[in-house]
């Protein structure tokens, strides 16, 4: 029987560049949350290659402006878990009515994004439900190929998170991903209750 301790894992959703519009996002709040939580490990949405090269140009603004600076000056270790650099905004529907529908959902999300401009609001139930619904509808407007790529990327990310947990079991792990992924990543992580326990980030 495996006697390794379970890791406590919390997911923290960030806004990043929701679709094509970068929006002012209070990164000072995110820096404070990370410094206060002081997890042992933070799993972040950047590829290992980019992170080890020091190239954060393809990573989200929250990594460049909040995660990386806090990690550099504390004992928190960043584990890059993105299998590839694409983000939600890089997946696009084919031209025509699907593209128009996706743009409509974009505008709705932008509206919601402007209201939820702090980590606490982004991780609240209201925005989470709103974002998850609109993202699911947007995904339906993509081609089957794009949906498969998105699913594969999320599965790859979960595998990298699990690898981090297996490598260093029993630690406090904060997974910071763009909000569009949470609805995909969290259910996949929950299947591994032998390895980890999902908790709210405030209880990490």
């Amino acid at each position: 029987m495996d006697q390794r301790p379970r890791s406590r894992v919390a997911l923290l959703a960030t806004l990043s560049e929701l679709h094509v519009q970068p929006v002012a996002y209070d990164l000072a709040c995110l820096r404070r949350i990370l410094a206060d939580l002081a997890p042992d490990l933070v799993c972040a949405e950047v590829t290992r290659e980019d992170w080890e090269r020091g190239d954060l140009s393809r990573a989200g603004v929250e990594l460049r402006g909040a995660l990386a600076p806090v990690v550099a000056s504390t004992d928190i270790v960043l584990v890059p878990v993105a299998p590839s650099p694409e983000r939600f905004k890089d997946f696009n529907p084919p031209p025509g009515w699907r593209a128009r529908l996706a743009r409509f959902f974009d505008r709705l999300l932008l509206w919601g994004q402007r209201l939820a401009n702090r980590p606490e609001a982004v991780n609240g139930l209201l925005f989470e439900t709103f974002c998850h619904t609109l993202c699911s509808l947007t995904e339906l407007s993509w081609s089957a190929e794009e949906r498969a790529l998105w699913e594969a990327q999320n599965e790859g990310m979960v595998q990298n998170i699990l690898e981090a947990v297996r490598r260093d079991p029993g630690r406090r792990v904060l997974v910071v991903v763009q909000c569009q992924r949470v609805g995909k990543v969290e259910p996949l992580l929950r299947r591994h209750a032998d390895l980890l326990e999902i908790v709210d980030h405030r209880e990490l």
Binding site: R31, R32, D40, V70, S73, D75, V77, L78, D168
Partner: protein
């Protein structure tokens, strides 16, 4: 001081009244008080020296007098933040490149670690990797970041490594690794 106050999780103050500090930072370029006076007035507190220039021999002399960390000003705020955290934990801190130069200086001096450690041959690949990173002068945080492990896990594995090698500190372990490497190259 302004720089220190911006670093997360640290309570930075001028020396003077108030509760005793965990770590004292002394700017060697700013003049008195001197190292001896600080070590006498704050026994048991980790003293870190910062200076514009810190040649390896000078850093070694500071360490031999009881200073716990030496950080050239050119290393920047992040190195300083790491130094404060490591020294507060009881570790000695030197930036990686300075640590290697100091270790090589120490390796030229007679030492109680002379002779191969019997535990060296029994090291696993992971332990050899850890020892290699240690001998490059990397801090616990730098080792953890390289291996994608938590700092706590690295600390635990290092303690286990010291026991296996029959040494009592990272400096002794690093010296042993450097000597083993040197003797391998001489063969």
């Amino acid at each position: 001081m302004a720089l220190l106050r911006e670093l997360p999780g640290l309570d930075a103050r001028e020396l003077g009244g108030g509760p005793p500090p965990d770590v004292v930072l002394w700017d060697a370029d700013a003049g008195p008080p001197q190292v001896g006076e600080l070590l006498e007035n704050y026994p048991g507190v980790g003293l870190i020296v910062i200076a514009a220039r810190l040649p390896p021999l000078e850093a070694l002399e500071y360490l031999q007098r009881g200073v716990k960390g030496c950080v050239p000003k050119s290393e920047g705020a992040q190195a300083l933040s790491l130094a404060v955290r490591e020294v507060a934990r009881g570790e000695t801190f030197l930036p990686a490149n300075l640590a290697v130069q100091v270790l090589r200086l120490m390796g030229d001096a007679p030492s109680t670690t002379e002779g191969a450690s019997p535990g060296f041959k029994g090291l696993t690949d992971r332990e050899r990797q850890l020892l290699s990173l240690l001998s490059q002068g990397l801090s616990n945080k730098a080792i953890a970041a390289r291996l994608y492990l938590s700092v706590r896990t690295v600390e635990g594995r290092l303690l286990s490594l010291y026991r296996k090698l029959g040494v009592h500190s990272r400096t002794e372990a690093a010296l042993l690794a450097l000597r083993m490497e040197a003797s391998r190259q001489n063969q």
